[in-house]
Each structure stands twice: as structure tokens, then as C-alpha cells.
């Protein structure tokens, strides 16, 4: 990557830059003419100096008026030509700048991918992100202008000066007399501004880094009550940024001031020298006036040049300061990142380390002359004390680090020069803190199968043409032109024929890591679009019918209360009973139901409003009675109360206001009270406030609500329908189509078990798993517990059937039972392959064909575990310590 910005621009856009420059120069004569023509219009056409009318031109004769119009048309033509050229140049510049900016960003991002892994301990995302997003942004505008702007402005300036010299050499000289002084002073002042600019970038970067830290460490900040300390720190840093920025501002405006001042000096020179010349008769007063006018034309390009100069300095600093952060030592060679052309050949043959050493930052030796060979099919355990080098050894085997001495071979191939796509396809590595991408479970699993686009995406010809244009532009900007929307999944690498078989295989690897059941549960809690998957929707409706049938049996009867259009469901809230559907969006949220015009209309129509207000008052009385004795903010409010602790005093006052028998309840109080009954679940809360009469009328309201709902309201709710799939409910909701009853011991578990049993009977397990695979895992997999994240990361590696599989303490976050199951699964899947496992629990080494004991960066012992397990060995010592 070029160290100097100008060189970067010229290297990647030589033709465009040259075109802009040539066009700029070509436009100058037209500019000169556009200065000259008005003079002629004035002097010749209007004043009639140095010309006789009618005059001959292009073989035609012109009167004075005719000549005036001719010149005016000529002037108009020049204006159009000038404007046209300018517009064209601007377009070229814009494209040039944007293309270069895209290239620069892409180059920086690629460089992050080439960073040696230890470098990530020194840089944070908080520093890198603003550099690529915000810091280089202004460079886009500058890069388009970099060569053209000085040409245009200096050219314009030169044109004006030339014009002045042609008018009167002395005046011309006077006009530029002060330029040398400006040329001397301004760069001097600018130098300090440049320095400050660098400081500002550094200070701001530190702020970004600290913001990143305070986001990542939010929990620690709260745990330790350190927000005061953190705020003081930010205050200090922002103060520094403020001081630097303000000083830059002051100095920049000082430069402008001096410049303006010197510019004003020019007329002074004209008046004094020109005046002297006029008085002595060496110059006409008219010429002096003309010179003064022309001088005014000089100030604009001069100002532009000065701005350009400042911008150049700013951009130079930005570019240098950004790019120097992207030039760490020992970057991955660019060639290793090339995209595969076809399937990677298997890495057959033994993996052989010969005298391998590794040091960090070139001086701290972490591994020294390690030699060993692992044959295909062999299972090797690496043990040793933490920090003794076993972790680094795993990185070397995974080719995430490169040795700085010795040789690593796999079969006949040099392991260190293999392309990354070969490593990616043929080597598996999972550490204890594997990362999941913010995508579905499925996407995360197939991540290791995406080394290259496999089959193109089918599109309309028109769309395809547009995409081709985009890809051509990508190439011009030095970006990758591969279609991200193509199918990148290498089914062959996973050993399957296509997408349908892949799902089968995904389930296999999931069960190998003891996660099939978890994904099944995720599937039950997942939603589908019944239009996109009518097969699953239909199957789920089958399961619903089957469940209803099973629940009819005696011992199950009380477990679930199904939704029935004509019955009040005592295990659902009053709101659910009224709406009889799933709210889509906030309109029918139970908290806001009392404000919803559709709901209020229906309540009034069936005369429920007054009764519900009464029920609301009863609920409020109970809540106040129960919770008034608790201190404000007690957990019970959040957990149990219908009224928050903040609102409790208000409700107390409300009850006192309306305590008198027959007291009129005001509109506001009515509205408040009306919010309460909607949340009542009769079977759970046992408040005894919903009697049979009320239920009948709620059912009546339900019917009217459904029949008379406004079109807006209709879009905000999906009604329950015993015969239809509810798209906004989960699979489980759809199967259940009702509420698990409160008060029945172990009802949730029993119903859950029943659902699983039914789904298996109906052969719907794979359909549910498919839905589970679409579960979005969240940023860094945060929506899954750590154990499940780890299991997915392991499964992801097993899926690609690697020739060499490295497990680096990857099962430590799992509980003992899961650990055993996952270990079994990995062994089963890695049959016949090389399996290298860095072990946290030394005792597990007994399972392996061979053990490598690493101590102080050296291979201390190697051999079978039985062979090593004797007094005096380091292995025995590690076993005893565990």
C-alpha cells in the first residue's frame, strides 16, 4: 500500500487523473476568451473603439448592433462551453474520488484480514472501525480534486495574471508582488496546524477505543459502580480533543486572516504605485481601473488554492495516519487469501513438524525445535501447563500462526504456503471462544463450506445486466467481483448432493455435538411463514389435531385449555379472550388496550365498559391492599403486581376519591381502572372478579370485535382460527392452540413431552429442526447460551469433514455430561482423520493414541498414555495435579 496519498491516486487512477488534467488545461483558453470577450463587447461593440461599422466578419457584413449581438452570442457560446467542460470534469472527478475511496476502504478491510493474529491484541475494533468508515471519508472528495484542483485554480490565476500583464506589465507585477510573501508565511503557519491535526486524530482514536471498551465492558462498569470514573475519563479525553480542535480552528483562521490581509494589500499597491504612475502620466486612469477589476478576479482562485493547500495537508495526515495503522509486521501474504477456482485437493499424508520454532513479536520465544509426525487416522492429545506453549502449537497446526523456524509438511506439501482456501476446506479448528456470526444457526453451520461461489444465482436478464455493470465497477475499484448472492455452499465438501441432503447432514453433525434436541426446541419456539412453507404449516395443523385428540383422554384432560371461538379461556388473559388473536405490533398491546378506539367501541356496544371499570376497581383495591405494605421498588411489584410501585400512590388516591357509594368516577380515573382487568388470568390470579355473566358478554364482544373491526385494526391482529395456521405464533403455539393450564402439577413438562412424542409419531421432527436451523443467533451468538455456541462451532468444523481437526480446549465450557457426549461425537466424526486435541483435563489423554507433553516451549515427552503414565514423567505429574 502506497505511503503517500498522491502516489496512491496516481497508481490506481493514472488515466482518469490524466484525463482530468488534460481537460482542465484544455478548458483554460475558453476561460481566457470568456474574460476577453466582455472587454471587446464593451470597447468595440458599445464604445466603437478601434473599429469601423459596418465591419466584415466571416465574409458577412455586420452593423454595430448586429456586431453586438454576434459578440453576445459568442459570449453565450463560451459560457455554455465553459460550463459544459466544468460539469464534465466534475463528473470525472467525482467518479475518480469515489472509486478511489472504495478501493482504499476495500484495501484497508483486506488488510485487517491479513493481520497476523497476535496483532489483534494490540488493536481494537473501536480503533479500526472509525478509521475505515469516518476518517477516510473526506479523502474521497479530495482524491478526485487532488491533481485537478491546483491545475484549475493555478491555471485560472495564471490566465488572469496573463490578462493583466497583457494590459500593463507593471500592474501585472503589482498584482503578484505579495505572492512570494504569502508563499513563505503560510506554509510556516500550516506546519503547526498539521502537527495539531495529527494529535487530534490520535486523541479522537483513543476516544473511539475507550467508547468501544465501555460498550464491551458495560457490565463491569455497572458492577463496580465505575460510571463516575469512566465519565471523568471521557471528560478528560474530550477536553483534550476540544483544546486541539479549538487551537486548529484559531490557527486556520489566522492563516485565512493573514491571507486576506495580504490580498487587500494588492489594491493598496495599485493605488500607490498606479496612482504615482498616473500622476506622472505614465499610465492612463482607465488602465488603472481595468487593472483593479481584473485583480478582483484573482482573489477567488487564490483563495481556492489556499483552501486546497490546507485540504492537501489535512488529507496527507489522514491518509498517513490511517495507513500506518494497517501496516503491521508479518502480515499474511496476500496470495494466500486468493479465492479458490475449484474444490481443494485432500491433504493426505502425515502432518510433520520438523524443528519448528515460533516467537511472538520476533523476540519472545514461545516454541522451540518441536518435531513430531502425526499419521492419518491418528488421534493425538497435547497437554501441558497453561502458557507452556500448547495453545500456540494448536495455532501453528491450524495455520493461524506461521513458524519462524523449521518446517511443517503435510504429505508432500509445504503446510505454510498452502492457500487459505485449502486450509479452510481441509483443516478444522475450534478454540474455547469460537465466534458465531449474526445469522441463523444454519448459516453459522455452513460457514465453513463457503470458500467460493459454487452455482450462480438465476436472475432475469435485465437484473443480470445491472449486476454485471456493478461487477465491472468492482473490478475498476480493485474490489472482488464475485456474486455474494450466488450459492456459495460447497455441498460436495460436506459429502452431500444438494440442499435437501445438506439439512439431513446438518442434523447429523448437530446430534454428534449433542445439540439436536436444543435446535429442536429452538424450532418449536420459532415461527414460519405458512405461505413460504405450506408443507410445514400443514404438518403442524396435523399435529394440532392429534394433540387435541390425545388431550381428550382422561389423564390429560386438564393439562391444556384449548382456544375455542365460543368459550371463555380461563387460563388466558381477559385481553386474549376479547381479541381472540395474536396482536401484530403495538396497537393491541395489552397495556394499551384501554386506549384502543376499536376495543372501546366494542365494549360500549355490549355494555361492558362500566362492568370492567368496576372489575378494575376491585383489582386495584386488592393490589393496593396486598402491595401497599411493601417498600417501593420491591421485586414483587415487577413480578406479581398489576400496578407498578410508582403508580401505587396514585391508585390509592383514586380509590379514596371513589370510595363513597355511588360516587361518580371521572373519565380519567375510568381510563386508568380500565387498564387493569385486561391483564387478569382467572385461573392464575384467582381474584374471583370475572363471573359467568361477564364471560358471556366478553364472548359477545369478541364476536362483534371480529365482525366490525376497522381495516387498520384488521392489519394489527391475527385471529385464532382452529383450522388455520397462525403465522405470528410459534410452532408450539400452533400445535397447542390453547393455554397450558395453571395449577396442574408439571403440566408444562408433560405437555412438552406429549408434543415431542406426537411430532415424532407424525414424522415431523425434521420439519421442526429445519425451523430451528433458521433461528437467528444474534450478535456473536448472544441469543444462545455459551455451551450451545460452542457446540455449533464444533459442528461447523465437523460438517466440512476436515483432513486435520484441531480442538483447542473447545469443550471446557460444557458441563461434564455434554462434554462426554461431544467428545464421543467428535471421535466418531473424525474416524480415519487426523485429530489433534489440546486438552484442559489431562486425564482425557488416555483416550488418545499418543500424547505430546509440551513444557516451556519444548516437546518434553511423547508416546502412548500408558507408556507415559509412570512415576517421574511430566505427564504423571500433570495427571496428579489435575
Amino acid at each position: 500500500m502506497e505511503i503517500i496519498l498522491q502516489r496512491f491516486i496516481f497508481k490506481y487512477a493514472p488515466r482518469e487523473t490524466a484525463a482530468v488534467c488534460v481537460l482542465t488545461i484544455a478548458s483554460l483558453p475558453f476561460y481566457y476568451l470568456s474574460l476577453d470577450v466582455p472587454k471587446n463587447i464593451f470597447n468595440q461593440a458599445i464604445l466603437g473603439k478601434n473599429i469601423k461599422f459596418p465591419t466584415e466578419l466571416f465574409g458577412a457584413s455586420f452593423s454595430q448592433v448586429g456586431y453586438l449581438f454576434l459578440l453576445c452570442v459568442w459570449f453565450l457560446l463560451l459560457v455554455i462551453i465553459n460550463g459544459g467542460i466544468k460539469q464534465y470534469i466534475n463528473t470525472l472527478k467525482g467518479r475518480l474520488g469515489e472509486r478511489l475511496l472504495r478501493r482504499l476502504r476495500f484495501e484497508l478491510i483486506v488488510r485487517i484480514m491479513r493481520f497476523p493474529l497476535p496483532h489483534f491484541r494490540k488493536v481494537s475494533a473501536g480503533e479500526l472501525i472509525p478509521m475505515i468508515t469516518a476518517e477516510v471519508e473526506p479523502l474521497g472528495g479530495y482524491m478526485g480534486d487532488a491533481f485537478a484542483q491546483p491545475l484549475i485554480q493555478a491555471g485560472t490565476l495564471l490566465t488572469v495574471v496573463t490578462f493583466l500583464f497583457v494590459q500593463n506589465p507593471i500592474m501585472g507585477l503589482a498584482a503578484i508582488a505579495l505572492y512570494p510573501i504569502q508563499g513563505y508565511i503560510i506554509p510556516k503557519l500550516q506546519r503547526r496546524v498539521n502537527q495539531l491535526g495529527k494529535e487530534r486524530v490520535r486523541a479522537m482514536r483513543k476516544v473511539s477505543e475507550r467508547i468501544g471498551e465501555s460498550v464491551a465492558g458495560a457490565q463491569e462498569i455497572h458492577t463496580h459502580g465505575a460510571s463516575g470514573y469512566e465519565r471523568a475519563d471521557f471528560s478528560e479525553r474530550l477536553g483534550l480533543v476540544y483544546r486541539i480542535r479549538f487551537e486548529i480552528f484559531q490557527r486556520k483562521s489566522m492563516v485565512k486572516f493573514i491571507n486576506n490581509f495580504l490580498n487587500q494589500m494588492a489594491p493598496l499597491l495599485f493605488y500607490s504605485i498606479g496612482g504615482y504612475l498616473v500622476i506622472h502620466g505614465d499610465l492612463t486612469a482607465g488602465a488603472l481601473a481595468a487593472a483593479l477589476t481584473a485583480n478582483k478576479d484573482m482573489s477567488a482562485p487564490w483563495k481556492e488554492l489556499l483552501d486546497y493547500y490546507q485540504q492537501t495537508q489535512d488529507s496527507k495526515i489522514k491518509y498517513e495516519q490511517v495507513t500506518e495503522q494497517f501496516r503491521p509486521e508479518n502480515m499474511f501474504p496476500e496470495e494466500l487469501l486468493s479465492v479458490a477456482e475449484g474444490p481443494a485437493a485432500p491433504l493426505d499424508g502425515p502432518l510433520a513438524f520438523a524443528n519448528v520454532s515460533y516467537s511472538e513479536d520476533g523476540h519472545i520465544k514461545l516454541l522451540e525445535s518441536i518435531s513430531f509426525t502425526v499419521k492419518p487416522g491418528e488421534k493425538v492429545a497435547i497437554v501441558g501447563r497453561t502458557g507452556g506453549g500448547k495453545e500456540v502449537l494448536a495455532l501453528l497446526v491450524a495455520r493461524l500462526a506461521f513458524p519462524d523456524g523449521g518446517k511443517i509438511m503435510i504429505g508432500a506439501k509445504d503446510f505454510t504456503t498452502l492457500h487459505e482456501h485449502v486450509i479452510g476446506a481441509r483443516v478444522g479448528y475450534v478454540s474455547h471462544n469460537a465466534y458465531l456470526f449474526s445469522a441463523s444457526v444454519r448459516d453459522n453451520l455452513v460457514y465453513g463450506l463457503r470458500q467460493r461461489p459454487i452455482s450462480p444465482r438465476q436472475r432475469d436478464e435485465a437484473v443480470e445486466r445491472i449486476r454485471r455493470g456493478w461487477h465491472a465497477e468492482s473490478r475498476r475499484a480493485g474490489n472482488l467481483d464475485l456474486d455474494i448472492e450466488a450459492d456459495w455452499v460447497d455441498y460436495q465438501a460436506a459429502g452431500v448432493a444438494g440442499p435437501a441432503e445438506l439439512t439431513q447432514r446438518l442434523v447429523e453433525v448437530l446430534s454428534a455435538v449433542d445439540m439436536e434436541e436444543d435446535v429442536f426446541q429452538l424450532g418449536l419456539r420459532g415461527t414460519i411463514d405458512p405461505k413460504a412453507r405450506p408443507d410445514i404449516a400443514k404438518a403442524i395443523l396435523q399435529a394440532r389435531a392429534a394433540l387435541q385428540e390425545r388431550l381428550a383422554s382422561d389423564d390429560m384432560r386438564n393439562l391444556v385449555e384449548p382456544f375455542h371461538p365460543e368459550r371463555y379461556n380461563t387460563n388466558a388473559t381477559l385481553a386474549e379472550n376479547l381479541l381472540f388473536g395474536t396482536p401484530l405490533g403495538p396497537a393491541f398491546d395489552s397495556d394499551r388496550l384501554a386506549e384502543n378506539p376499536d376495543v372501546l367501541k366494542v365494549l360500549d356496544k355490549v355494555g361492558l365498559t362500566d362492568d370492567l371499570v368496576k372489575v378494575g376497581r376491585q383489582v386495584a383495591e386488592t393490589m393496593v391492599e396486598i402491595f401497599a405494605g411493601l417498600p417501593p421498588g420491591h421485586e414483587f411489584f415487577e413480578q406479581f403486581s398489576f400496578i407498578s410501585s410508582d403508580d401505587l400512590p396514585e391508585f390509592q388516591a383514586l380509590l379514596a376519591r371513589t370510595a363513597k357509594a355511588g360516587a361518580e368516577i371521572g373519565a380519567n380515573d375510568r381510563r386508568r381502572l380500565l387498564t387493569l382487568p385486561f391483564k387478569v388470568i382467572e385461573a392464575r390470579h384467582r381474584l374471583g372478579v370475572i363471573d359467568e355473566g361477564l364471560k358471556t358478554r366478553v364472548l359477545e364482544a369478541r364476536r362483534i370485535f371480529r365482525d366490525e373491526l376497522s381495516p387498520d385494526g384488521r392489519r394489527a391482529i391475527e385471529f385464532f382460527d382452529p383450522a388455520a395456521y397462525n403465522a405470528s405464533g410459534t410452532l408450539q403455539d400452533n400445535i397447542l392452540f390453547g393455554k397450558v393450564a395453571y395449577g396442574q402439577a408439571k403440566a408444562v413438562a408433560r405437555v412438552g413431552g406429549l408434543i415431542v412424542e406426537l411430532l415424532d409419531q407424525l414424522k415431523l421432527r425434521s420439519a421442526v429442526l429445519e425451523v430451528g436451523l433458521e433461528y437467528q443467533v444474534g450478535v456473536a451468538g448472544a441469543r444462545l447460551p455459551p455451551g450451545q455456541r460452542q457446540k455449533i462451532a464444533i459442528a461447523r468444523n465437523l460438517l466440512k469433514r476436515p483432513d486435520v481437526m484441531i480442538v483447542n480446549e473447545a469443550t471446557t465450557v460444557l458441563d461434564t455430561q455434554a462434554q462426554a457426549a461431544v467428545t464421543e461425537g467428535i471421535f466418531r466424526e473424525c474416524e480415519g482423520r487426523i485429530l489433534i486435541w489440546v486438552l484442559h483435563q489431562v486425564a482425557l489423554a488416555r483416550r488418545f493414541d499418543r500424547v505430546l507433553v509440551i513444557a516451556d516451549g519444548r516437546l518434553a515427552e511423547t508416546g502412548g498414555s500408558t507408556e507415559l503414565e509412570r512415576p517421574g514423567t511430566l505427564f504423571a505429574e500433570l495427571l496428579a495435579a489435575a
Binding site: 389423564d555 386488592t622 391492599e625 396486598i626 402491595f627 405494605g629 384467582r686 381474584l687
Partner: protein
Amino acid sequence: MTMKEEVEVLRNIPLFAKLDTAKLKLLAFTSERLTFEAGQALFNQGDPGDAAYIMIEGEADVLVDTANGKVAVARLARNAIIGEIAILCDVPRTATVIAYTKLTTLRIDKETFFRLVTEFPQMAVEIMRELARRLDKTTEQLRQCMSRVGAASA
């Protein structure tokens, strides 16, 4: 059965007899009413203690694991409180409890129970009194056993 009726039941349990109505309502409201069919286990010996149960209706057997299998040691009826030891001492269930007839209980989970006790010292005192009474009873039984053993060996 509504909360009001549950409150009446709670009032008859010595442990809660001295609490005022509002507190009893809170206790009822924060607990879950749970029905067990005859033969269904409330919990098994060795399970983690996650809740206490107040018996509202029905009967239950307390069984203890011995070398000869499970042995019934007591039959509990209405107004009994079950499982409070496991949640007070944070030990696994010391016995198995099985519904003898259809059983209605109020289930108070551990968290809620502790919050109630910390919030209302009056309740803690009642619990202490109840436990002391039981300890006294156990000690008395032990003394009788010891003297019987002493008499036998003499």
C-alpha cells in the same frame, strides 16, 4: 377456589395464623395453586429444594429411602406445610412426598419465600417458633428412644 378462600385456609395454619389479612393475601397471591393427582409425587428425596407447599385439601404420604426401600414415615393432611426444610437449609429434599388422595396445594417458590420472610420479620418469628416446637418434639422422641435403649441394654 378463589384467593379469598385460600386466605381463610392459610389463617388456620399455625405458622401463618398471626399474620394480618393483607400479608396472607400477598402470600396467596405470590404462590401458585397446584393440584396433584393421587399417586403423583410432589418431589423426590434428593431433588434440589426449590419450593415449599402448603396443603389446602387432600392427604399426602412422606416416604424416606432406607436399605429396604421407601418407608412411609408420616401422613400429612390439610394445613400442613411441606418441604420448608429443604428451602431453608439449602439441602436436597430429605424425603419423598406423594399425594395420597387428590391434593390441592399452594406452592411458594424458594425466592419468593425468602423475600417474604425478609420483608416480614413477624413471619420469620412464626417459622422459628414452629421449628423450635418440632425440635422440641424430636428431642423428646430421641430422649424416649435413648432411655428405651438404655433400659434394654441394662
